[in-house]
């Protein structure tokens, strides 16, 4: 799904590369953390995937596209396959929760019927049912981030990038957000989350890619990673559960593990078939169209 081949990125007028010869692969359906201190190249990595930046050397492949050879006019089609969440939420302050999420569909030309159907579904999925008419400033930070996640996910993109999504949130709220991303991941969406929040990383037991000043220093399989610190928050079931062997192949979008193992900790309805497979008629059409244009 995402492939970095000896990627080096040097910003103009700087000597030290922001990313230095990084090679890694994130398969479809995986949940990966990218950790490292500020300036270690996490955000650069995200921006390369989005093609907000171009590589200096090397190759980035995302969803079957070689980004270096992707012409400018096909970048929007790439971004339609990637949902994006940021530390600062980036909500439109004068639009309600519903309008903020609907905006992502509107600019892509979705029908009104589809918006009326998909937006409440997605809001329910992120745990904001009933808050449609609120304005962003009437929400807590965690709720605002959930709106941002809903907006990123409302098109059901196969990839979700989260750049420090918990950077502005307290530990409890952060955990809720990460669990939400985990739930989205279990629908088959590839999730990449950049963070320096070691507590959450430890608690989640997922793949961890560690960057230090642009160099890939370690890449650990799900569960192997620990920062060495004692997590202040521990999820009993999660922490004691054995390492999930089926993690990276959840690409079919179905949870083939024991459903009881995923008893939702946040008490939200499990993501059903609908959310799993955003295959309402419009959805299929759009997705196919996007693929076709990129093949030409």
């Amino acid at each position: 799904m995402i492939l970095f081949e000896n990627v080096t990125k040097t910003y103009p007028r700087t000597t030290r590369p922001a990313l230095d010869d990084v090679s890694l692969e994130i398969p479809r359906g995986e949940f990966a953390f990218v950790v490292g201190t500020s300036g270690s190249g996490k955000s650069t990595m995200m921006q390369l995937v989005m093609k907000e930046q171009d590589v200096t050397r090397g190759r980035v492949l995302v969803a079957g596209r070689d980004l270096d050879r992707l012409p400018e006019r096909k970048v929007p089609a790439l971004r339609r396959e990637i949902g994006c969440v940021f530390q600062d939420f980036r909500l439109l302050p004068n639009k309600t929760v519903f309008q903020n999420v609907a905006y992502a569909l509107q600019v892509l030309g979705s029908s009104r019927a589809r918006i009326r159907q998909t937006v409440p579904e997605t809001l329910e999925l992120v745990g904001l049912a009933g808050m449609e008419k609120r304005l962003p400033h009437q929400l807590s930070g965690g709720e605002q981030q959930r709106v941002a996640i809903a907006r990123a996910f409302v098109n059901r993109p196969p990839i979700l990038l989260a750049d420090e999504p918990t950077g502005n949130l307290d530990p409890d709220t952060s955990l809720g957000i990460v669990q939400l991303l985990d739930r989205i991941n279990r629908t088959g969406t590839t999730v990449v989350m950049a963070t320096h929040d070691t507590v959450t990383v430890d608690a989640m037991r997922k793949r961890v890619i560690r960057l230090d000043r642009g160099v890939l220093v370690s890449d650990m399989e799900a569960g192997d990673y620990t920062t060495g610190s004692i997590p202040r928050i521990r999820l009993e079931e999660e922490a004691e559960a054995p390492r999930r062997a089926d993690e990276p192949e959840a690409s079919d979008g179905y949870d083939d593990g024991d459903p009881t193992a995923y008893d939702e900790p946040d008490g939200l309805p499990p993501i059903g078939r609908d959310a799993d497979e955003p295959r309402s008629r419009g959805g299929i059409f759009r997705r196919h169209k996007a693929v076709q244009t990129s093949d030409r």
């Binding site: 971004r79 994006c84 980036r90």
Partner: protein, 301 residues
Amino acid sequence: MRFQFLLGEIGNGLRRNLSMAVSVVIVTMISMYLLGLGLMGQRQVDTMKDYWYDRVQVTVMLCAEKTRFTNCAGEATTDAQRTAIKAELEALKPTVKEVYYESRDEAYDRFKQTYKNSPLARAGESYFADSYRVNLNDAGKFDVVASSIKGMPGVADVQDQKKLLEKFFTFMNTVSWAAIALSSLMVLAAVMLISTTIRQTAFSRRRETGIMRLVGASNFTIRFPFVMETVLSSVLGAVLAMGMLWATVRYGVVGFLSQTLTDTAFIGVADVYYVAPFVIVGVIVLSSLTSWVTLRRYLRV
């Protein structure tokens, strides 16, 4: 849905940036009005040329006693000379269209008739002479006539009315070009204003455009509202300018000037209808080009 959404975005943008939109309207209106006036001036010159060049005459003045023209040597033109001149002029057809003879008395009467309320009317008969009035098929062929007639015995002088008119036309032409030059300065101002407006609106809406970019909206979806906002306001300006121009021609030229000065031709509202589509299309092209170029620079995708 998308169309409706884009319309909504355009409406929102215009409402939020109303003062900017109004300034674009006004600047376009004034620049296009000036341009229109310049173009109307050009067309007025053309109309008058068409009118007058059909009517201008070459005057072949004949000698009278004691005229100062050296060719005459103080002698009046004899009948034989007259016949020779007339024959020569007739031979110049088809360059020459018609030849009239005007005697000294007729010329004097006509002069007194024309300037009866003017102090010039007191000029004596001795200022006048017999002449042939020659209409040309092509007003530009004066030199052909002049070269073959001028040296003939009995010819005092050959005068071209076109020369007099040309001075007047040059003056009018200069004025209308000045209006066009001024309007091009205004157009430059309009272009820069549009560019500034777009930068301003792109900045004030960077949050929205940022999200559009993130979710993968096409360049067209992101830029179209900006372009349409400027195109709409500048077209409104151009339409208003053409309205003003129409009013100027309808009430200023057709309604007033041509009533007052009856012995020449003036432009009509048809000339405004002829010019207006070009001006409006020009404004559309100019404003969409300007906004597109500005957006390329200030709205990275």
